[in-house]
């Protein structure tokens, strides 16, 4: 395995949780729900995955529990914003906060440990050897391949499936959808639920795929990166994939350079700077295509 293929291999690995969560965020965005709680949902998924795997002995039951738990957790956002018309940003931030407290609390009460739970007997998601795909694409956990499939499915669904069309309509003009008998609440609930399920898978991949353990706050900002990826990718599944890939590669390259004299702090900062520059370029390109906007036009 050459160094370069290892680089991309690890970039893909780092990308997967971000990608899964960002896909969920993109679907919410399309349905008109701003989901800033990806980080918290993913963290719940991490915990549930480890708990499920540990108590059942099966990593796949862990994955299932992660999806269920994050889906249920996402319902707090759904009920709060869709039914009760609470503020999505407030609730999202609260969910992120709650997840840290809740998983920490449960870790101490259910596992009797603090900080990290890991055990050699904890079943993780093994890599699948798909040798024909080459060293970069082969050898990942099944969830990695699921995430790629999810991108394709989401892209086709949103662009071409009638329900995808309705979902986008709900996000763009809920009143208009309602007058045609499409319930915005229903689609928004489903979108938030889907984002919960995807964040659950993201958490499972992080806790049982990338590593095999749970540690407090182990998402470490990945959910926020997913939020940024949704914006950079304009809530398009393929866009989100590219945005995530950019971030993942920047991070992996940063790692490499770290070994070659780049200060660790610069390596840490690199992916954020690269993402910001990408945002500049993409908005600048869009701006050039568009006419200048009036001051009272849509919020800039």
């Amino acid at each position: 395995m050459s160094v370069d293929s290892a680089l991309f291999h690890s970039a893909l690995l780092a990308l997967t949780p971000i990608l899964l969560a960002a896909l969920g965020g993109a679907i919410c965005e399309r349905a008109g729900v701003f989901n800033i709680g990806l980080e918290g949902m993913m963290l719940i998924g991490c915990f549930a995955a480890v708990a499920g795997s540990w108590f059942t002995g099966s990593a796949w039951l862990g994955v299932a529990l992660a999806a269920l738990a994050s889906g249920a957790y996402a319902m707090i956002l759904a009920v709060g914003t869709i039914s009760l018309r609470g503020d999505a940003v407030v609730l999202g931030v609260a969910l992120n906060l709650l997840a840290v407290g809740l998983t920490g609390f449960l870790l101490r009460t259910a596992f009797g440990v603090q900080g990290t739970f890991s055990d050699p007997d904890l079943a993780g998601l093994g890599g699948i050897d798909l040798g024909f795909l080459g060293p970069v694409l082969s050898g990942h956990s099944a969830l990695v391949y699921v995430s790629w499939a999810a991108v394709a499915v989401a892209a086709v669904f949103l662009a071409r499936h009638p329900w995808g069309l309705r979902l986008r309509g709900v996000g763009e003009a809920p009143d208009a959808a309602a007058t045609l008998g499409v319930s915005p609440a229903k689609y928004q609930y489903l979108a938030v639920l889907t984002s919960g399920l995807l964040c659950g898978l993201a958490g499972a991949q992080l806790a049982l795929g990338n590593v095999t353990l749970f540690s407090e706050n182990m998402t470490a900002g990945r959910g926020w990166i997913a939020v940024v990826a949704v914006m950079l990718g304009r809530a398009l599944p393929l866009g989100v994939l590219l945005a995530g890939l950019l971030f993942g590669v920047a991070e992996a390259v940063g790692f490499r350079l770290q070994g070659n004299g780049l200060p660790q702090q610069a390596a840490d900062a690199a992916p954020y700077v690269v993402t910001l520059v990408a945002l500049f370029l993409s908005t600048a390109r869009r701006k050039r295509r568009k006419r200048p906007e009036p001051l009272v036009g849509a919020a800039s």
Partner: protein, 523 residues
């Protein structure tokens, strides 16, 4: 593809019996009976808040009545949601457009009833069906165009296509012409008439007497939630309907006395901005200059550029002798500009803020610290002066009805006593009584020596108020008329792009009803 209307029976197409709907504190509909025959165009009239929209919402399954029955073709129905109403052959065009701007026309029309192929939405088939439907009913639209790029008149057609696509036999339209020009409105009525002739039924909410008189077969008037009058259009007069609505005699379409213009206040020379080319105009003190034109011909852009809300690409704007071409919006206001924008809820107010806070905007500058007592007093004075119906100045402005919100905006801007007032669509969607109040205020403002630039799609309004009329077409001033020259015919021709001279001796490009709406980008 449109299922042909069912064979006529004896029963009326729509019958509402004793519909009662109470909102907390408001009896919106009080035992309303309404009978609409098949194949007729039935107008529903009434002042703002009379209960028209509520009644239509009840019929369409958006609201549950507290009491009463709904019968369609003689059979009692009960709708839990609009989709059930749609399935029963009803269709509704709402007061504000319910469209997806980023979708194509075809996508908007087939939304929630998409043709499918292999489980996916079949775009080609959707375009084909919509094109055929448009063709069949003479509604000219490009199915592949993005709705966000279309002018309002075309959007209205998309709304109607949506109903027809779903096989609606009864069409409910809530104030469909509020944003249309007379030409567009005439075109719409042409379509409605042909639909009625096919055997479909049209129920129409409107504030415009002219349309009712010219386009409807029957009229029901609501007042305070109750039926105030029921008549055949042929048997009544505009004055009669107006009297039934307000409970008093109303003087309609009054021509106001001319003003006595003084010195030049606003001068625009060779102005260009997005969608506007080489516009020059002046407005003098004590003068109302009206700008007529089909929506989307650059009026809004022009006004925004003059108000400092849109960058000026070329030309000069002078306000009270000061060059304000590149000045900020705040500098414009300081130089003597007041402005009533077209969209009172999205631009003219902060609906979530209190009425007092909304009334304070602009008046808050230059007094040092803000004193709550002073703000409330200011609000009290304006509420009283302009007859804004509000329970308290501490309520959210969004709680006001459209007409009252409009009075709030106009009152606030008039109170600036600025040398120039720009007013856009001052009476859109406002009932007859309020229209008169607003017109009176504008004329009084002019007579107090202020300059007014009035933009309206309402020809009677333009003619009734303006001392001079400019017509905009495709971003340019296409014609200028004096008060006397500006009759409906000449204005209409100029708006349709005929190079009409002041004598109106131009070649008309066709009848008004078929006037091509410029297919250019709306803002």
């Amino acid at each position: 593809m449109t299922p042909p209307p069912e064979p006529a029976g004896d029963a009326p197409a729509v019958e509402l019996r004793g519909i009662t709907k109470e909102f907390p504190g408001t009896l919106a509909n009080d035992r309303v009976d309404l009978t609409v025959r098949r194949g007729e165009i039935h107008a529903l009239m009434g002042e703002n808040g009379a209960g028209k929209s509520t009644l239509m919402s009840v019929l369409y399954g958006l609201q549950r009545p507290d009491a009463g029955q709904i019968l369609l073709d003689g059979l009692e129905v009960s709708f839990a949601s609009p989709s059930e109403a749609i399935a029963a052959g009803l269709g509704m065009v709402h007061q504000s457009f319910k469209l997806f701007p980023s979708f194509t026309v075809a996508e908007n029309v087939v939304y929630a009833a998409e043709p499918r192929r292999f489980g996916l939405a079949d775009r080609a088939e959707a375009v084909r069906r919509v094109a055929a439907l448009a063709e069949e009913h003479g509604l000219a639209v490009d199915p592949a165009a993005k709705v966000g790029d279309l002018p309002v008149g075309v959007r209205q057609r998309v709304e109607i296509l949506k109903l027809l696509y779903r096989g609606a036999r009864t069409l409910i339209l809530d104030e469909p012409t509020a944003v249309l020009t007379p030409a567009e409105a005439d075109a719409l009525f042409g379509v409605l008439r042909s639909l009625a002739d096919e055997g479909r039924t049209v129920l129409l909410v409107t504030h415009k007497l002219r349309e009712v008189m010219e386009g409807s077969d029957a009229v029901t008037v609501l007042r305070d939630g109750r039926v105030a009058a029921r008549m055949r259009t042929a048997d009544t007069s505009a004055d009669g309907i107006a009297a039934a609505m307000t409970g008093r005699a109303v003087e309609l379409d009054r021509m106001r006395p001319a003003g006595s213009p003084g010195g030049e206040v606003l001068s625009v020379a060779g102005l260009a901005t997005d969608g506007v080319r080489d516009v020059s105009l002046t407005v003098r003190a004590g003068e109302i200059v009206g700008i007529a034109g089909v929506a989307g011909n650059g009026q809004s852009e022009l006004v925004e550029a003059v108000a400092g809300l849109r960058p000026v690409a070329a030309g000069r704007v002078t306000l009270d002798g000061r060059d304000v071409t590149d000045a900020t919006a705040a500098e414009h206001r300081a130089a003597g500009l007041a402005y009533v924008p077209e969209d009172r809820a999205a631009v003219g107010t902060a609906p979530a803020a209190t009425i007092a806070e909304n009334l304070a905007m602009g008046h808050h500058r230059g007094h040092g610290l803000l004193r709550p007592g002073r703000l409330r007093e200011h609000a009290r004075v304006l509420i009283e002066r302009f007859g804004i119906k509000a329970a308290s100045a501490d309520h959210a402005a969004g709680s006001l009805s459209g007409g009252n919100l409009q009075k709030l905006v106009i009152g606030r801007e008039l109170a600036h006593e600025s040398s120039l007032l720009i007013v856009e669509q001052p009476t859109r969607g406002v009932d007859i009584g309020a229209v008169q109040t607003i017109h009176d205020r504008l004329v009084a403002h002019r007579d107090a020596g202020h300059a007014i630039l009035l933009v309206s799609a309402e020809l009677s309004e333009i003619r009734g108020l303006s001392d001079r009329v400019l017509v905009m077409y495709e971003g340019e001033i296409a014609a200028e008329f004096t008060r006397e020259e500006a009759d409906e015919r000449r204005l209409g021709l100029a708006m349709a792009g005929a190079a009409a001279g002041p004598d109106g001796s131009a070649s008309a490009p066709g009848s008004l009803a078929e006037a091509p709406v410029p297919a250019k980008e709306a803002r």
